[in-house]
């Protein structure tokens, strides 16, 4: 019989907080670059592409860590609907973390644009150029980014609810550990 974990393993916590900062930065960079005609537009795009690919790599590592390690269980007295919401929102977050950068990469490919990460690093296209496909992927990239932002806000509120109202150790399981 193994004792239930109190905390996420250190590499999982490290990945969580690094990606939290990276994802929030990406969401603000994305929102800013589509609403700007100034030099900031170019600067933000030059950040958005390499950071997006870095977050894709981190998301893959993180999913592997998640599948390879044990997680602290949710509190036994958590209402079933909240437990379900917690599980569903986590898998939604994983899905969006993986699909948003892939959509960005694929939409640039569909536009026939070089997928340029700067410093001469070019990624191969994921699919052949096609205008209608581009429009679909680009639109999905935008809407799913808003969905990710809303999910992150709900996740943040829920974490604080656990930490401040329920005080059940859920927030602490990600905040610190041995």
């Amino acid at each position: 019989m193994t004792k239930p974990l109190q905390h996420f393993v250190p590499v999982a916590r490290w990945l969580h907080w690094a990606m939290a900062a990276g994802l929030l930065a990406m969401l603000f960079i994305g929102a800013g670059m589509v609403a700007s005609v100034s030099a900031r537009h170019e600067q933000l795009i030059e950040l958005h592409k390499p950071l997006g690919i870095a977050l894709l790599a981190l998301a893959v590592i993180r999913l592997s860590v998640r599948l390879a390690t044990r997680q602290p269980p949710l509190p036994a007295d958590l209402p079933a609907v909240q437990a379900l919401a917690a599980k569903a929102s986590h898998w939604l977050l994983y899905g969006l973390m993986l699909s948003l950068p892939l959509l960005g990469w694929a939409m640039l490919s569909a536009a026939g644009d070089p997928v340029n990460l700067g410093a001469g690093i070019l990624l191969p296209p994921l699919l052949a150029p096609n205008a209608a496909t581009f429009a679909l992927l680009r639109t999905a990239h935008g809407y799913l980014a808003y969905l990710l932002f809303c999910t992150v806000l709900v996740h943040l509120a829920a974490a604080l609810y656990h930490g401040l109202i329920r005080r059940d150790g859920v927030l602490r399981s990600m905040a610190r550990g041995r």
């Binding site: 609403a35 005609v37 536009a111 429009a135 401040l164």
Partner: protein, 354 residues
């Protein structure tokens, strides 16, 4: 497991819910501000394209500016003269394939060819290493304005009056009067006549860029393509679509050629203001020959789905501080998303329309 915490009083509970709501609100409002929703005064790509669209009328599937055009294909034959100044593969001696597009400014894909004296040429060079150089050039020596706000104001001043369907001359005069930087352009446009051919025109890149050498040296440049060995079309064009006809006829007799000329700035020349031409004596290097050999109607042509964003550049060419470059990039991206989402309505559209 965590022991059961002591219960909270009503006031403490409310305060803690406030603490939960605060970061959520701050993040949400900040994103709304960054996205421009809480900053209605900001000039956004969508506003620029909305204004272009309002002037050109609704033409689903077409570019919101330079809507009327024709695709061309060919190559660039570099002579290697710029290989020292720029590490871009396109300037090494040899051939780079090109997909281009001749067009008229304006948002109406059915505009008569004699309605404007300006023609444009956009090019996409695709290097063997996959990097691209995209450029959009115009047949005028200088851009009317140097800032994005002034460009937007000029679009608004030339919007058709709902009552007459034509731009309001008073608004246009007021715009030019309050923008003295337009003088050079106005002096040119006064004598400019709509040409009878795309082939006889010189096309200027207008915005400045930097060439970057292998050792990191950066030099400010502007480029243009100058027609080689063309004879003017004998008569002024007839009908609304004479440019495409003339192009087909000329290409039937063989490829058309332009010399690609790169002009280097002197140290004090303005590199961030497209409304200021550089003096004519600046060092100019001929980089090679642009050869165009085939034209294809744009609705099925290879240029249709290309966004000629002038900030798509290979290593070895960089944007300058010219504010029109990021503005063009941002507005083209917005227009590109709108028209690619409507691409299926293009097949129903007749081209050209009587």
């Amino acid at each position: 497991m965590t022991p059961k915490p002591p219960p909270l009083g009503t006031a403490a509970t409310l305060a803690r819910f406030g603490l939960i709501a605060l970061p959520v609100l701050i993040l949400g409002l900040t994103l709304g501000y960054v996205r421009g929703w809480l900053d209605p005064g900001r000039l956004t790509p969508a506003k620029v394209v909305d204004t272009l669209q309002a002037s050109g009328g609704p033409h689903p599937g077409y570019r919101r500016n330079h809507a009327k055009g024709v695709c061309v294909t060919g190559w660039f034959e570099s002579n290697g003269q710029l290989a020292q100044a720029s590490k871009a593969e396109v300037f090494a001696a040899g051939r780079t394939p090109v997909v281009g597009r001749f067009a008229l400014p304006g948002g109406n894909p059915y505009a008569p060819d004699n309605s404007v004296p300006i023609r444009s040429l956009a090019l996409r060079f695709t290097q063997a290493d996959g990097q691209q150089w995209r450029t959009g050039m115009n047949s005028m020596p200088v851009f009317p304005v140097g800032t994005t706000q002034a460009f937007f104001d000029s679009l608004q001043a030339s919007r058709p009056d709902p009552a007459t369907g034509k731009p309001n001359p008073a608004a246009q005069q007021a715009f030019f009067a309050s923008h003295p930087e337009t003088a050079a352009f106005l002096a040119w446009v006064k004598t400019a006549k709509p040409s009878a051919s795309f082939a006889t025109e010189r096309y200027d890149g207008l915005n400045a860029f930097y060439l970057v050498a292998a050792d990191g040296t950066r030099q400010a440049v502007r480029w243009k393509v100058v027609p080689e060995g063309v004879t003017p079309t004998a008569s002024a064009g007839e009908g609304a679509d004479y440019l495409a006809t003339d192009l087909e006829q000329r290409l039937a007799g063989g490829p058309l050629r332009w010399a690609l000329q790169m002009t280097f700035a002197n140290p004090d020349d303005p590199v961030d203001d497209a409304s200021k031409a550089w003096p004519a004596d600046r060092r100019t290097v001929e980089a090679g020959t642009l050869v165009l050999e085939r034209a294809v109607a744009q609705n099925d042509g290879p240029c249709r789905d290309i966004n000629y964003d002038p900030t798509v550049l290979p290593q070895g060419i960089e944007i300058s501080g010219d504010p029109l470059l990021p503005a063009r990039s941002a507005a083209y991206a917005d227009s590109y998303l709108r028209r690619t989402g409507e691409v299926n309505s293009l097949h129903a559209a007749q081209e050209p329309r009587p």
